[in-house]
């Protein structure tokens, strides 16, 4: 992990100095604000109905009507935005040639790759921290199960990190940031919708496809279930792409 802090600090500085971060922050907060508003408005509507209908009143639950859809919505926003955060990580270094500096400083490849991922995960945490006031507000207005909220956020963080790890890898494939973003977006969407295969082929292939899906493992978190099986899935996913990233850097070195 030699050189981790140097690269981590540099990456955060680059984010801070680049306009991409501010555009992403703006779009994310705009959309998440809208999603939160619409979910709360719907909740509001239901609670009016609940005053007349006891059946609706039984179903009325801030977590399942507001928190869960909200987290699903912001994970879609993250799916769209995370390729934009990761695309420059290696592609830009390759284009400007600064990768040659990085790889000739006494920094290990593991340190380098982990630092880049951690820096972009820090940005993810900043994005998510910006949505916490919504939860505080909601908790103030209605009874909210803190455990479920924590579990839901944990799920978003794990899934978001998985997005970013994949994006980090696609950024090593090319010098062109747009290509890196496109590849990463395509791959992420693929991992998102691969679970649809289950309804087409209800065999083992379908099950395997469902298991590979990023959303399949997110669902339990949003319901308040923290299960090591799903945590393991995300960890393996992240480590796999970190491994591919390191291999890719090695391959480029050998090729020259």
């Amino acid at each position: 992990m030699r050189g981790f802090w140097a690269v981590y600090a540099k990456e955060l500085y680059s984010f801070w100095a680049s306009p991409i971060l501010y555009v992403v922050l703006f779009v994310f907060f705009l959309l998440s604000g809208y999603f939160f508003y619409s979910a709360v408005a719907y909740y509001n509507l239901l609670s009016f109905q609940a005053t007349q209908n006891p059946f609706v009143a039984q179903e009325l639950n801030a977590v399942s009507i507001v928190v869960r859809p909200f987290l699903l919505d912001i994970s879609i926003v993250l799916l769209l935005l995370s390729p934009l955060l990761t695309m420059r990580l290696f592609a830009e270094e390759k284009k400007t040639g600064t990768i040659e500096l990085l790889l000739t400083y006494p920094i290990t490849e593991v340190g380098l790759v982990c630092a880049k991922l951690c820096a972009v995960v820090t940005v993810l945490l900043i994005l998510l921290a910006g949505t916490l006031p919504y939860m505080v507000l909601l908790g103030y207005l209605t009874k909210l199960s803190v455990g479920v909220v924590i579990s839901g956020y944990l799920g978003v963080i794990l899934m978001g990190t998985a997005f970013l790890a994949l994006g980090l890898f696609t950024s090593t494939v090319t010098q062109n940031q747009i290509i890196a973003a496109t590849l990463s977006f395509g791959a992420l969407l693929g991992f998102w919708i691969i679970s649809w295969m289950k309804s087409i082929t209800p065999s083992t292939i379908g099950k395997v496809c469902e298991y590979l899906s990023l959303t399949y493992h997110f669902d339990p978190f949003s319901k308040g279930l923290i299960d090591t099986r799903h945590i393991t899935y995300y960890f393996v996913f992240i480590l796999f792409f970190l491994f591919l990233t390191i291999r890719r850097i090695d391959v480029e070195r050998w090729r020259g």
């Binding site: 030699r2 050189g3 802090w5 140097a6 690269v7 600090a9 540099k10 500085y13 680059s14 100095a17 680049s18 400007t96 040639g97 600064t98 990768i99 040659e100 500096l101 990085l102 790889l103 000739t104 400083y105 006494p106 920094i107 290990t108 070195r253 050998w254 090729r255 020259g256």
Partner: protein, 319 residues
């Protein structure tokens, strides 16, 4: 300090360098000379651990570039070709990053940054964003990052490319002054530069080392004939000149140096110095002599000789 043995690198099936071997001793400034595409950058990239060789070994300060890459990287300061820098950072911020990437002791960082900024004369731009600096300043920032941490070996890939003449001279002087405390390997395709800055030259062509020696030795050993230039006040014709000098032993040929007959080349025997005899004969012959000097074969000619002649067999230390 730098030992390179049998280094070979293939890009796919294309050989960039074949069996390159040379040594650089402590405290030397060695110029790595060759035309574009000769394999200079490839060799340098292997030495700096940016890419592994296909075969052969490269060692810096006893550490193997492949096996002990991290230790090698701690020994070297490297300025890549085209000077890649983080353009969004200020000079100071960039050097701070380099200091932490090189794991310089926190207590020494400030002093080190001050030291390299002073050497490279970039103190007055320390707060400016690198992207807005001129090429000359960027080059110096690149050099500053290489010097940071005071590594024993400095490797510079075409350090003066794209600079204006004043800047080139500044950078050369800087490199020369660094030679006191560091071992320096610099690549270049500009010959006078190498002749002026380096103690020793490694000439590489088509991926192979064709000669290594000091610039003076290379020039001397390849020079088969000595040449004297003479200049006169007035134009004269060749038969007069031949009449006067014809009697001197050791004169091989006389050729005009320009069209108007005022300057002439006299080719003489390499073994003896005929300047005094020529001067005496000309003056006694009634010529109004205004200029007389020996012409050394320039490194440029040596270089052309080495890279164009196929079966070259001069006595120089040819590898």
């Amino acid at each position: 300090m730098i030992e390179v043995e049998g280094l070979t690198k293939y890009y796919g099936s294309l050989a960039a360098i074949v069996d390159v071997s040379f040594r650089v001793e402590r405290g030397e400034i060695v110029g790595f000379l060759g035309p574009n595409g000769a394999g200079k950058s490839t060799t340098i990239k292997i030495l700096t651990c940016y890419m592994p060789p296909s075969s052969g070994t490269a060692r810096i300060n006893g550490f193997d570039c492949l096996e002990d890459s991290i230790n090698v990287r701690r020994q070297i300061g490297y300025l890549p070709e085209n000077v890649p820098l983080y353009k969004e950072m200020t000079v100071k911020r960039f050097l701070e990053f380099v200091a932490s990437a090189k794991q310089i002791d926190r207590s020494r960082v400030k002093g080190e940054i001050g030291r390299v900024m002073e050497i490279c004369a970039i103190e007055d731009v320390s707060g400016r964003i690198i992207g807005n600096l001129s090429k000359g300043y960027r080059q110096r920032v690149g050099l500053a990052q290489a010097l940071l941490g005071n590594p024993p070996v400095i490797i510079l890939d075409e350090p003066t490319i794209g600079l204006d003449p004043t800047q080139i001279i500044e950078i050369r002087n800087l490199i020369k002054s660094l030679g006191k405390d560091h071992t320096i390997l610099m690549s270049s395709h500009i010959l006078p530069e190498v002749a002026q800055t380096c103690n020793r030259v490694v000439i590489i062509n088509k991926g192979k080392v064709v000669a290594t020696d000091s610039p003076e030795n290379l020039t001397r050993q390849l020079q088969k004939k000595a040449q004297i230039t003479v200049g006169f006040e007035k134009s004269i014709n060749i038969s007069d000149l031949k009449g006067i000098l014809g009697g001197l032993p050791g004169i091989i040929d006389i050729m005009p140096a320009d069209g108007d007959g005022m300057r002439w080349y006299i080719e003489t025997d390499q073994e003896r110095d005929l300047r005094a005899d020529v001067a005496k004969a000309l003056v006694e012959g009634g010529m109004r002599l205004v200029e007389l000097k020996t012409v050394d074969m320039t490194l440029e000619e040596v270089f052309m000789h080495l890279v164009t002649e196929e079966d070259y067999s001069a006595p120089s230390e040819v590898v």
